[in-house]
Symmetry: C2
Subunit: 252 residues, 2 copies
DNA sequence: CATGAGTGTATCCTATCGGAAATTGGAAGG
DNA sequence: CCTTCCAATTTCCGATAGGATACACTCATG
């Protein structure tokens, strides 16, 4: 392998790594491979159940099998791929409609809380960060391209993750991070284009407004309404099952 | 390496594998190593921040480095170990009191819902399974030994996991599975012995009673009370911070 | 047509090498 | 004589290449 380059000629990847992970000067090759793999699965929209040949993937990316395997193990934990012992790895199946409903139930349990806690955050960069993500989403409004969809979904993920991070509860953030890629892939295969930017941005604005004035109850409610709306929009495209009654309890 | 044995002489391990995983005839060596590692970290009570020497661990368990590394990557995702690139793996730090509080917050958000959903389960083996776990916990009551503590905590984990599984929501179950090992380790280092069996079994009984009569509201409430009690008991030993107000919403 | 042996392929594991980081020893300066 | 800084050594992580084993497929046979 050439001395300077790690993955492929890796020009595009090095740019991503430089932009996203400049702080961590120490990154192992398997980390790079993992990031590359996530991007690959999420944007390329590979067919579910596709066999992943470790050897050919290693040759294609000009690395050996070990970092590929380590990245695949992590991807399995994240739900991106599945593994059958002695039979290898496959691209994970896309969520069924029922499973997406389950996913949204979990988010509805957690995210109103994370929004409420985020309203107490002292991080002054939170609001500007959220607005930056919303600007990207506004920009992608009604653009049918795959590129725009990818940027749109990325901004959406980072919007929710920023709030989870601001909640200060690492377990909440961890639990939600797993859901993000699944939701991304479900919507990628459901429509694959930006079709709800107006509603989503409006609902995000309501959340940000509540966070700006540090109103925990309002933030919680706005987030709850947003998630219910997201689910309803998806089910409008897909028909039943609609969102089952969402159990929520009163502030004690 | 001898032909029949895989880990060490591995007599005890083979017994565990035969008891727990007989259904999966296909298991890779890294799976075995991972299970072994979880058991090792949770029962041996290794000091946090202890360096893990991959090479010596491989020699000690009579396997090579690759399955060790794969198991460590999975253990990192599960929060059992931490990894610093180019500096290796370490035993993960035990949760601080504040982090344990965060963990309990997440459980309180999720588990009342999982109990409510489990009450609708048609699985006839659920109640007997839960009662079996409770029997084990009763048996360990007020026994100070490390062996009893381990069995007690295992039964507690499996009790909650069985309910999560019965909820039918795989994302709920996944989110909770991460919390289990952290809670286990926190209590291992907090007291390390069975000191709340009476209360815990009583509270578990309340949950099972509600599940038996398929009362979703009662199951949710019983689980909520149980988790609050768990947190309160831990804080009684530890002093502040006590459990912050637990945000819960009304059933809509 | 069903069944079983034989061949090919890919996974999984092992053995080994390069290289980065921690450590120990020594020399220079105060 | 003690402290501080630098450098060589050692240790161990990360990566590579190759071999053993299990599975899938093909083809011959009852």
């Amino acid at each position: 392998m050439a001395k300077g380059s790690r993955l492929q000629q890796a020009a595009d990847f090095e740019a991503v790594a430089a932009a996203g992970g400049a702080l961590d000067s120490r990154r192992s090759l398997s980390d790079d491979v993992y990031d590359h793999m996530v991007e690959f699965v999420l944007t390329a929209g590979l067919a579910p159940d596709t066999h992943i040949n470790v050897d050919s993937l290693a040759r294609a990316w000009h690395v050996s099998q070990t970092p590929i395997r380590e990245a695949l193990v992590r991807a399995e934990e994240a739900g991106l791929v599945t593994r059958e012992p002695l039979r290898g790895f496959r691209i994970a199946p896309v969520l069924s409609s029922a499973e997406f409903s389950q996913l949204m139930h979990l988010r509805i349990l957690i995210e109103p809380y994370s929004a409420a806690e985020a309203s107490k955050s002292t991080d002054v960069t939170l609001i500007p960060t959220l607005e930056a993500h919303m600007a990207i989403m506004r920009q992608a409004r009604n653009k049918p391209g795959a590129q725009e969809f990818s940027a749109y979904m990325r901004a959406d993920r980072e919007f929710h993750d920023a709030i989870a991070a601001a909640s200060g509860n690492r377990f909440v953030r961890l639990a939600l991070s797993t859901t993000a890629v699944h939701a991304h892939r479900f919507r990628l295969f459901a429509s694959g284009r930006v079709d709800d930017a107006s509603e989503t941005v409006a609902e995000h604005s309501a959340v940000v407004d509540a966070l700006r004035v540090r109103n925990a109850d309002a933030a919680s409610t706005a987030m709850y309404r947003h998630l219910v709306s997201v689910a309803e929009r998806v089910y409008a495209d897909f028909g039943p099952p609609r969102l089952a009654p969402v159990p929520q309890r009163q502030m004690s």
